[in-house]
Symmetry: C2
């Protein structure tokens, strides 16, 4: 057995990184990794290793890892699967951890399983912690490490922020990262651990639990390695910060697909759901849920309860949101008589005073603020403001008014604005000010459901 | 009783439109309607009616509708609720149909109910068909009628196309319209009928069933007026063209919200679902489903079966799609031995040959075409191609290759590409060529589910 409980924090604070199988050819993955490390601004030593070259891009290239004078914190291995074991052997005890990005292991069948077993043995013998194989490794805005083997023009790199992502799937991690970058949402650490011969979700959770830079954890898993240890670690983690998880490979086709992806045995979904619940993990149904969770938790804290006040100027959208809330266990509770009376006296007669509060197409900016002020005299935990921008008397000024209100009253206001050109222009103003806008009733409710978890 | 079964086609082919309560003031709704009618290019006669003015924007303004020499096909009534009845009375038998956009009726309670009853009686007596009150009326790219009271800079107007929308909610109709305009998807007729004192979903379905311009019908309803008649009309309609419906006001909060929106008694959702099924209507869960349906049916026909082939270069996304397919009743059936063998011989060894076919991050454009050609030798009804654009050897040329393949082989290929800047650039190339791209696994599967309905 590998020493699973050993600390893996050196992966997130390395002083030296070797790239085994480095290449000076721009088309090669190992070249991309060297470039990305530079672009990320990694401040430690970088050692390209390849017997064929003496220098790559102004860096001395080493014939073998033993030739370097330094101890290596991370060796990124970009070699064909059959020679990976050999490279670990030659590294001896010089290397603390290896990120094996190469594919061609358990995910391709028997021969790959054998290669993985070999790697496991050598790593254990030499005391090397392994991330991968068949992974992207680490994108880290704190340590400035970037081993993702895709150029940043294809997959954007988010700025520094509070979200950390743990993903068995590299493409899933990369895609979410790309979306967050596009939306201007920052991350702390993104970890893709692939086939998990050693480092897995639980090691990462344990590290991120104590990581000051990480405020929120998003987890994509196809399977869990050691259920009991996972629940223990996750329970400790969720006491400190929210952990959102999507478990894929749920049943039938998905289970099959997961096996041929990272060789994971996906297992019965109900067992996972129960374990998540026990550990205080917020489970989301899929990609959309994980994305919505990242967007909303980047701005708002978890709320204490499930009571949602819906304010809108579009009746049909209000009904749709009520439906979706009802469907996901949120409480769209009615207004008290007092609040109803004061709203009736302060809003024009054509507004529908209830929950939702429907301000109708004759709405002005100020109606929204009145509805918020009065409506929140009843104890609601979350507001969904479904602002349709058709009504002519709604102006851009509402953006700052809503943001001001949320800040002053410290209440999460989930903005829902579906629509076309004009709406998207306003939405980008919100987002420029750091407030996410959800462009369908369903996504707004997914976000509110996360907050109420 | 109103003569419900009377033909309402004159609403969609009017020769003359009067705007009752017309105003020369740009802030007023009636002014917006006059402007929109002009912008839409309505070729018939337009009669502004308002005793206060003698002309509005170079059109003669009439003191009353009786002053016009013409018979009026549509009178758009933009007056305060309490005087609407009076205006219908004075119209006498000169008017075939009225679109009452004014709010302040059943949706606001007892007094509104009384006003509505009055309108009903007068309309019946004078043989006037009524659309509304509390509605947007008609946006029609064939007859060039536009009674939506919102300017096109706020709510975009789609070009001519095959989708027709029937919506109880005006804001829902406007928002979907705005989204379709933004995506370059065309519509035939958009109808918002609001409180339904007379014309409702069934009249509209009956008209659209025989309407050559309408290829697909999207329906938003809070309640149905006459269940049996609705099912009969819808059954006739679905034999000719697909009808998609979202029923809101499902339970609890949603039911309450629907009542205060258009005064509709929403009723038990299960009854609606059963009726939809009986009538051959494809039910979607909400706004997202309706939007996805419009996008995919704008390009693809309903398929004969439910068998889905998933092809991807991102394993995790492939697993997510498999899960979502499984969840919505699609069949992700395995490949036959023959197809598996030929794929194994034609694709590199690192590809996972199954369903999904995972081409991995080493994918090239050509792998996708190989996977399609070979994979479709097994009988699949729909392909979901989840193209992640990270891999460096994928190029823009794949767009035309995929479109060419779909055209040649007449198979619906649902493209799923989540991601940031680079991905969105490629997606817009697809969409410029009329092919929708779905940006989450879930939305792609919603679209495939519609096709398989």
């Amino acid at each position: 057995m590998l020493k699973k409980k050993q600390d893996i924090s050196f992966f997130f604070n390395p002083k030296s990184i070797a790239v085994i199988g480095a290449s000076p050819m721009p088309g090669k993955l190992s070249y991309v990794i060297l470039e990305n490390l530079k672009k990320a601004g990694f401040l430690g030593a970088i050692y390209p290793v390849n017997p064929k070259y003496s220098s790559i891009n102004n860096l001395r290239c080493y014939k073998s890892i033993t030739e370097t004078n330094d101890n290596i914190d991370i060796a990124v291995i970009v070699l064909p699967a059959p020679v990976v074991a050999e490279s670990l052997k030659s590294a001896g005890k010089k290397v603390k951890g290896a990120i094996i990005v190469s594919g061609g292991f358990k995910e391709i069948g028997d021969e790959g399983v054998r290669l993985e077993e070999e790697i496991k043995k050598i790593a254990e013998k030499n005391g090397i912690r392994i991330m991968g194989p068949n992974c992207m490794g680490i994108y880290d805005t704190i340590s400035r490490v970037d081993t993702f083997l895709i150029t940043s023009d294809r997959i954007g790199r988010p700025n520094k922020g509070g979200i950390s992502i743990i993903s068995q799937s590299g493409s899933f991690a990369g895609t979410i990262m790309d979306e967050l970058a596009y939306e201007g949402i920052g991350v702390a650490r993104v970890i893709s651990y692939g086939n998990r011969v050693d480092v897995g979700e639980t090691d990462c959770l344990e590290f991120l639990a104590g990581d000051g830079a990480t405020k929120i954890i998003a987890l994509y898993i196809e399977s869990v390695d050691d259920g009991r240890r996972f629940v223990d670690a996750a329970s400790r983690c969720t006491r400190k910060k929210p952990v959102i998880a999507v478990k894929v490979g749920k049943r039938g086709a998905g289970v099959y697909a997961a096996r041929s992806h990272t060789g994971a045995m996906a297992g019965r979904h109900e067992i996972y759901s129960a374990a998540f619940k026990k550990a205080g993990i917020i489970e989301v149904a899929g990609y959309e849920g994980l994305k919505d969770a990242c967007r909303v938790l980047n701005v708002y804290k978890l709320s204490k309860g499930k009571r949602v006040l819906i304010i809108t100027d579009g009746g049909g959208i209000g009904v749709s949101i009520s439906d979706a809330c009802e469907n996901s266990g949120l409480e769209v509770t009615g207004l008290s008589d007092d609040v109803r009376k004061s709203l009736t006296s302060k809003l024009p007669h054509f507004c529908a005073v209830g929950n939702p509060i429907d301000l109708t197409g004759s709405v002005t900016d100020e109606y929204y603020i009145t509805a918020l002020k009065e409506g929140l005299k009843d104890k609601f935990d979350i507001v969904i403001a479904a602002v349709l921008w058709g009504p002519p008397q709604l102006t851009e000024r509402l953006v700052d008014k809503l943001i001001g209100f949320k800040t002053k009253h410290n209440i999460p206001i989930v903005i829902c604005s579906p629509g076309g050109k004009f709406t998207k222009k306003i939405n980008s103003i919100f987002e420029g000010k750091g407030i996410p806008v959800f462009s369908t009733p369903e996504s707004a409710v997914r976000a509110a459901t996360i907050l109420a978890s």
